[in-house]
């Protein structure tokens, strides 16, 4: 693969697939399946070709517009590569789940593939301009997918989603323009280096006055909307609920990770010192995300809204880990905790993506089998007619609950291991989230799978073989990561060490 611009290829692949899907008519889904499968293969190859020392590898550089500080600069470390893997897996799952698109399938799958390209582009870009292009690019197909294929209240949901994220992007863009004006660079590694020596802040202050903190806040707002962090999250329940379930899989499984990724790739490296200064309010918001997200889920009746809020809760643990590790002058013990938290955060990103996507897939199955029902009170006793569905969805739900032996636990354990010594109050309050999520998940199981069955659930079909085959690898991966997290962490940890070494708080 040496010399082959594999990251560019990976990004171009879905775009080519999208073009073909547009004209493929009723074969569009097959085209999309093939494309996403091929992308997954490439993503796995990339994961296996990462440099062992955790640095950024597979670098591609080309002159683009040097006078504007714009350069074609791609590369991935384990963080980026893991997100590529996740995006590829989730898109494949989403395409797999979307077998009932009757309205303009060509356009639908083309948009899904463009979205995938947006994800790939943003997880490989190392230059702000390039990164921002893909960040915005992914937004457009998502908007149309909600707007054109969504539920009854899709219009307002799509608009709110778009404008909200756009507002975040404006904050982000303005902050970055200021950085560019001060440093004449948009290159992430270069800016990281400047920040780690404190030069970045000096340059900004020299050019624009003491505004570095405001730039940090601008960047944080941009990502806080995307993740989302309380109180920037209100677009999420509506968007997740109104989007067709396969699109919700993409939104929660992959797109929400762009926000966390941004925090790790941009906010912490460039503005670590500023984030450390406002760490306490940020931790308060992270804890609020964990606790309020879980509790808001408890008050919902719609399965999609429940899982939407549970996503807020689960990404809250990522925020908790990220903000907790922003402590200046860490000693050896604190460094170990930072490494634990960061490994946990990145693992949690992957695990949440996998599990949440699976859960929305199951919701899609419940919906199509009962003629569109998705209120928890509208189900009951499904374990009897559909034991396999109940069993597999049960595993996904318990993974979401954080049961040891399944993937969800490992990330949460590492996050709590890291956060507790660094911010014990935040960690202690956040365990409430673990409790409440458990209550919510068990209530879902109780209402959907046990007790007497309502009329429209009579004759509920169990999974057919195709669905079993499609779900088996996903559930298998949950078990595999739960039991042998070293499969990921062995590769991830050097990158974590490398990242932490370059961050200054």
């Amino acid at each position: 693969m040496n010399g082959l611009p594999v990251l560019t290829l990976l990004t171009v692949l879905p775009l080519v697939g999208a073009a073909i899907a547009l004209v493929a008519g009723k074969h569009a889904r097959d085209v999309a399946l093939l494309t996403t499968l091929a992308s997954l293969v490439v993503a796995v190859l990339i994961w296996m070709r990462l440099p062992l020392d955790g640095s950024i590898g597979l670098v591609e550089r080309a002159v683009w517009a040097p006078s504007l500080g714009i350069e074609y600069h791609l590369g991935v470390d384990a963080l980026g590569a893991l997100m590529l893997l996740l995006s590829a897996i989730v898109t494949l799952m989403s395409v797999d789940a979307a077998h009932r698109v009757h309205h303009q399938p060509g356009l639908y799958f083309a948009l899904v593939l463009v979205l995938e390209a947006g994800l790939f582009g943003s997880f490989t870009a190392l230059n702000f301009f390039h990164w921002f292009l893909f960040w915005e690019l992914s937004l457009i197909p998502a908007f149309f997918l909600i707007k054109l294929w969504g539920g009854t209240r899709r219009g307002p949901a799509a608009t709110q989603f778009f404008i909200y994220t756009m507002a975040g992007s404006v904050a982000l863009l303005l902050a970055f323009l200021a950085v560019f004006l001060s440093t004449n660079s948009m290159d992430f590694p270069h800016l990281t280096l400047l920040a780690s020596t404190g030069e970045l802040e000096q340059m900004v202050t020299a050019h624009l006055g003491p505004v570095t903190m405001w730039l940090a806040v601008g960047v944080l707002v941009g990502f806080a909307v995307k993740v989302p962090m309380v109180p920037f999250h209100t677009w999420l329940p509506a968007a997740y609920a109104e989007a067709p379930s396969p699109v919700t899989m993409l939104l929660t499984g992959a797109m929400s990770k762009m926000g966390v990724y941004g925090l790790l790739r941009i906010a912490l490296p460039l503005f670590g010192a500023q984030i450390a200064q406002i760490r306490t309010p940020l931790l308060v918001m992270a804890v609020a995300t964990v606790v309020m997200g879980a509790w808001a889920a408890a008050a919902q009746k719609d399965l999609k809204r429940i899982f939407a809020y549970m996503s807020v809760n689960h990404l809250g643990y990522c925020l908790l880990g990220i903000f907790a590790l922003a402590v200046p002058n860490a000693g050896a013990a604190a460094q170990a905790s930072q490494a634990a938290a960061l490994n946990g955060v990145i693992l949690q990103m992957f695990n949440h993506g996998l599990t949440a996507a699976a859960l929305f897939w199951f919701v899609a199955m419940l919906q199509t089998r009962t003629g569109g029902h998705r209120g928890i009170d509208q189900f009951g006793g499904l374990r009897k007619p559909a034991p396999v569905l109940a069993g597999l969805m049960g595993i996904a739900l318990f993974s979401s609950l954080g049961l040891p032996g399944l993937n969800g636990f490992v990330g949460e354990f590492l996050i709590f291991r890291g956060v507790f010594p660094l911010a014990w109050v935040a960690a202690t309050v956040s365990v409430l989230g673990l409790l409440v999520t458990a209550a919510v998940i068990l209530t879902v199981i109780q209402k959907v799978f046990t007790g007497p069955a309502p009329e429209h659930c009579v004759g509920f079909p169990d999974l057919h073989n195709g669905e079993k085959m499609a779900l088996a690898p996903v559930i298998g991966l949950m078990l595999l990561i739960g039991l042998l997290p070293s499969l990921i962490v062995d590769t991830l940890n050097p990158t974590v060490v490398n990242l932490l070494a370059h961050w200054r708080f």
């Binding site: 608009t159 323009l177 509790w295 365990v431 673990l434 409790l435 209550a439 109780q446």
Partner: protein, 690 residues
Amino acid sequence: MQESISFTPQLAASSIAHLLWLVPAAPIVAAGVTALLKQPKRKTSATMAIGSMSLSLMLSLVAFAHVVGAWAQGLAARETVNFSWIQFGATNVDLGWVLDPLSAIMLVMVTLVGLLIFIYSVGYMAHDENFTRFFCFLSLFAGGMLTVVIANSLLLFFMGWEIVGLTSYLLIGFWYQKPSAAAAAKKAFLVTRVGDVFFLLGIVWLFAQTGTLLFYNNGAGSMEHAALAALLGQPALLGLTAAGAIGLLIFAGAAGKSGQFPLHVWLPDAMEGPTPVSALIHAATMVAAGVYLVARVYPLMQAGALAGGTTTALTVVTWVGAFTAVFAALIAVAQNDIKRILAYSTVSQLGYMMAGLGMGGVAVGMFHLITHAFFKALLFMGAGSVIHGCHDEQDIRRMGGLKADMPLTFVTYAIGMLALCGFPLLFSGFWSKDGILEAAQHWSVAKTPFYMLVFGALLTAFYMTRQVAYVFFGHWRGGKTAHESPSSMTTPLWILAIFAMALGLIGTPAWPWFRAFLEGHATRFDMLGFAEPGLLALMGVSTVVVFLGLGLGWRVYGNRTPNPDEPDVLEAASPLVWGWLHDRLYIDEFYGLTVVAFYGWWGRVSDWLDRRVWGGLVSAVARVFGLWAQLNRFLDTNVVDGSFDKGCDELASGGGLLARVQNGRVQTYLRILALAVAALAVLLIWSSRA
């Protein structure tokens, strides 16, 4: 992968120690294969479950014999096998297992009781349509429980602990069509999870402080001297050391699993599960896992205690245990469901074990754990036999006279009952309970727990006599006549009955083999053990108490043929007290009005905040933007151009400032800025119209 799981035997671990992982692995594999089999495969699943359990039992016996052999030769009887699971930074997250007297004894108990209950279940569940699934869950449970037993790492312990919690949840809710079973399952999982989140905090704290999760690792483990000394030097909150605080957090987890007050509320409800489940999980093994946990981390609990003294953590363990022992025994007096009486009895006996650990040490608490496992499993399986024979009747008021119809069940049940009451000399419960009472008598902090536990013993004898009198004496008050159970059910009863009597022999004062083995010193038979001052007097007291309880019980309930619809004799005497006890002191109702109500209320508040406050802010902003967009629509693109120009002007002035610093490239900057703002403005307007 290969690098990360590199086995690094600590001592020259023996081959059985290396193979110890097979003990939990065998039932887990059986469960996995059963789950993947095309349903229903009744015979295969039962054969695999029983076969894997037999294999585990054999391996456990070999391991036990090995440890006993090492101990008899005076060798260090602890072997560990540790390996790294994952690594973060330069820190390893280690897992591993340990073979020492504590784990060896538990292994034999769990596999033996487990195997007997598996065999019993073949008969008990014979007509259940989900027979296959039942054995799948039971095997998974056994795997989790055995993982707990052999774990040498707090994290591995926690993993097994949670698997056990999961299977407990699945098996309580086994008859999931019954809403009460589904609700009980959920309650069990959630109440124990309250303890578990504290446990988790304890784990991460201990890990952060000591840098290891291993219990024993050649001096570098968290339960070994160096780590404990460091923990003692670390102050935490409220005057506690880190050791004390972590000990209390871990105990919260143990209290949840072992049904200690105030987290006991799930255990009686757990009786919704099939009776073999109650016997295995909610009497003999899982609920004892909390006690085992305290025993496992005992060095931490005890850290900092002066000779003969105690620590804050152990004092808390003692008080919680002693209180639970009496409190649950009181409630048991006023219950009418045969399994619920036993459930409260289990809660009470777990309290005895905790108190024994707190006051007397590992050997005292663990001995009661082991004897209780056998006689309580026997009682539950006897109760299952009764329920089976009475056609699923569980109300003891609607039974009676079964000693004639079910003689085998009666005799074995009577043995279990006498063991539980602590009937002198012949029964194991007498010796193990006496050990606890003796420790309580010598406790340096207070004498109250001693009196509480003696009173608890009186109550135990009383409520068990009441139950036996109702069930086996008098005349039959039910519907269809009862019948004796098949031999697949009664044979395990006999085996357990023998253990319920004989096990006492290894823990008498004359031959305290159990204690010597656990504590690693030599012992021999010596009748002078009884000559310890005060011991015979104590045995006398406890004998008198047992006879008093039995006598009172018999006097009130014996040879009466109460009408099932009339109030109980005691109820007639004091309806108020009876009502409180019968309604479990209204603790469930209290939680309903506080914790559960708060949960619902706060959920609604969170939802309201979302919809009204945060959502309201957003809609307000959206309205402003909407107005702005309409203005644009009705006027003309000039407005857009106007705002565009205005934006440019503002940026120009900002840029002008900059131009003084960086000459010559202002135009370039402005071009990007203008383009970006234009793009954003267009997008915003266009999307808000969409």
